[in-house]
């Protein structure tokens, strides 16, 4: 039975391993817990889930598995009716029972319930018709309808297990949360590449001992300090549709600036064309030609584009597509040049990933980047950094 449980967790994409599963079995064997579902829930969580971001997934899987266990074979829906009936009888007052009679009695109520259970596929909360919690349908728990049937609201064991995982308290810890600078910095740290370069300033103890032992006199050795040598070039889209994402971009920018020693940034508008700039107030006076940029920064730089890539596809694909001036070469050409020169190159998009397929320009840009476009969530950023660090 527990193998099913293990497989259920796997099918919910939880990173569980056999070693952890064996640990759980061992714990059960040694009698760490009593025969209580609550305890089993806590124990299996402690043994199998190692990241609070996965608690929500675990809760869902557990809930699904548990419903499966409670099903009595032969009944179509997920909730055993006999069990329900007893439950209902227990919780109803005399008056309520009379009201049920008025509705056509048990028989009819159960018939309707069965019907609805068949119609209803997923879990449901609120609303007026479907079975679930906190609604006004006659079926489901925590509702207001006096003729209602309680499902899954187990009064006698008030702190019942069903409640614990059904609450799904960990849902906002899923790692698509918004980013704070600290989180971003941690994600950016993946890009660290340590190397010793420059003038020898640090005392090299091991080498000194080795060489002293060999030469039989004190022979001091120095070495250069260990530094993060990764080089990052960040190109940020600014203005227009990016105004919605200013806070996020600021955070990303400030985190990147403090994290990398070799960090360069430039701005562009909507799409990369033949020039970029460093200071938005003097963008028309002090421009850098994109050609110069490509020549100046070596191919060992890692390039990060930040932009929503939301524009008319013409702005990318057509010469003269820029909304600001007449560009002789299409933006796509420039993006392609960048991806050709810099093998480590990603695009971070602050728009939520779900809407990408509906915006043509995002699709075009993603294709230009060879699919290396990531959302600016923690998970997305980490994926991007992993790719850059490879």
């Amino acid at each position: 039975m527990l193998i099913d449980f293990f497989l259920k967790l796997k099918s919910h994409k939880l990173p569980v391993s056999i070693k952890e599963y064996l640990t759980l079995i061992e714990a059960l064997q040694k009698g760490v817990i009593g025969p209580s579902v609550d305890d089993f829930y806590y124990l299996s969580r402690a043994a199998l889930v190692k990241d609070e971001a996965n608690f929500d997934k675990f809760d869902r899987a557990f809930s699904e598995f548990w419903q499966g266990v409670e099903t009595i074979p032969g009944i179509e829906a997920q909730i055993p009716l006999e069990w329900l009936l007893k439950q209902v009888e227990l919780t109803l007052s005399e008056e309520e029972k009379k009201q049920i009679e008025a509705l056509g009695g048990w028989e009819k109520l159960m018939e309707t319930l069965k019907q609805r259970l068949e119609e209803q596929k997923g879990r449901h909360q609120g609303g007026k018709k479907w079975i679930g919690t906190a609604g006004t349908s006659p079926f489901g728990a925590y509702g207001y309808n006096p003729e209602g049937i309680r499902i899954g609201q187990d009064k006698s064991r008030n702190r019942s297990a069903v409640k614990v995982w059904d609450q799904r308290e960990y849902r906002n810890l899923d790692d698509s949360v918004e980013l704070g600078t600290r989180n971003i910095k941690v994600a950016l740290r993946r890009l660290r590449r340590f190397a010793r370069e420059g003038s020898p300033e640090e005392f090299d103890l091991d080498h000194t001992i080795d060489s002293t032992a060999k030469k039989a006199y004190l022979d001091i050795h120095m070495r250069p300090e260990r530094r993060n040598t990764v080089k990052v070039l960040m190109l940020l889209d600014i203005g227009g549709t990016m105004d919605d994402h200013v806070k996020l971009c600021e955070e990303l920018f400030s985190a990147a600036k403090t994290e990398f020693k070799h960090f360069e940034h430039f701005y562009f508008h909507n799409c990369l064309y033949d020039f970029v700039w460093k200071d938005n107030r003097r963008r028309h006076a002090e421009r850098t030609r994109t050609w110069d940029l490509l020549h100046k920064y070596g191919h060992d730089y890692k390039v990060i584009f930040v932009g929503d890539a939301t524009m008319s596809p013409y702005e990318i694909l057509q010469p003269g597509g820029s909304i600001e001036y007449f560009n002789e070469e299409p933006g796509a050409m420039w993006v392609k040049r960048v991806t050709d020169i810099y093998s480590k190159c990603v695009w971070l998009n602050p728009e939520p990933e779900e809407i990408w397929p509906y915006r043509q320009s995002i699709q075009v840009m993603k294709e230009l980047m060879n699919g290396r476009m990531f959302p600016t969530t923690l998970a997305g950023l980490e994926k991007a950094m992993k790719l850059l660090a490879k």
């Binding site: 391993s17 640990t23 714990a27 806590y42 190692k50 990241d51």
Partner: protein, 281 residues
């Protein structure tokens, strides 16, 4: 050995269970949670409850895994050799035992706390895999294998600054200390300030949970901040009425500096209060 919370530490059911599972199976317990929810205190209290010694190993960004095992003090040996000290002939004199070694060599099982494991370099946990799994390591200088006489009860805390490697996680039990609900919080306060005036406590808790609700705070106040704040309220002898107003949102609670530790948070909070006040007026 079983842990059931102590007089000074309120342990929720799930936490107690995780601790006991770790003790029974002799696996390390990894504890995460918001800062100030009592991760480090847990190890201290477990040691106290079980009546065993506690060894603490605090991790810094420069800590190496090797330092937890032992360090070979080559410099002082070099110096001794030049001064002609007799000690120099025995290498054991220059091997300094680390926390893990001390825990392994102890006569009774001990509680070992590895605090803030995420502060160290990314490779740090990987360097401790065998040590934590088999509870043994090899000393190259003296060619000895050090084996744990009793497997220590290991607690590892993390603030989530770095992801820990999967191989490491698989060897641990895991518990995430959730922010306590009102009921648990009241128990915690009762433990720290027995007999606190009911009225003051009620007012203070409401203010506290309201501040936690303020959207956009960089660092939400946590349990330890609440306890500090109550301490201050008691020390200053602030009457409960001072915390109370018909519309609590229009006053700034006294000594709020103990709850909000970030300048921007204080500004944000004050601005919100002024805005509600302006609306109300």
């Amino acid at each position: 050995m079983r842990f059931n919370g102590t007089e000074e530490y309120v342990s929720t059911d799930d936490l107690t269970l995780a601790v006991n599972a770790a003790i029974t199976l002799q696996r390390p317990l990894l504890v995460k949670g918001e800062p100030g929810t009592g991760k480090t205190m847990l190890a201290v209290q477990v040691a106290k409850a079980l009546g065993v010694p506690l060894l603490e190993w605090h991790i810094k960004s420069t800590t190496k895994a090797q330092q937890g095992l032992y360090e070979y003090d080559a410099v002082s040996r070099l110096r001794d050799s030049q001064l002609g000290d007799a000690r120099v002939h025995d290498i054991h004199n220059y091997i300094v035992k680390g926390m893990l070694w001390q825990a392994f060599a102890a006569d009774e099982p001990v509680v070992l706390l590895i605090d803030e494991v995420d502060k160290a370099d990314i490779e740090f946990p990987n360097d401790l895999l065998r040590e934590l799994d088999r509870m043994e390591f090899y000393v190259y200088e003296t060619r000895e294998l050090i084996k744990a006489r009793h497997r220590p009860i290991v607690f590892i805390t993390s603030n989530n600054e770095k992801e820990l490697p999967d191989a490491f996680l698989r060897r641990c039990f895991f518990h995430y200390i959730r922010f306590p609900d009102k009921e648990t919080m009241e128990k915690i306060v009762e433990v720290h300030f027995p007999g606190l005036k009911k009225s003051l406590l009620r007012e203070a808790m409401e203010v506290f949970f309201e501040i936690r609700e303020v959207p956009g705070l960089k660092k939400k106040p946590s349990t330890s901040e609440l306890l500090d704040w109550l301490k201050l309220l008691l020390a200053e002898d602030i009457p409960p009425e001072a915390l109370h107003s018909k519309d609590r949102k229009t006053i700034i609670p006294p000594l709020h500096g103990a709850l909000l530790k970030n300048e921007q948070d204080v500004h944000l909070f004050e601005r919100l209060v002024f805005m509600t006040r302006a609306k109300g007026g």
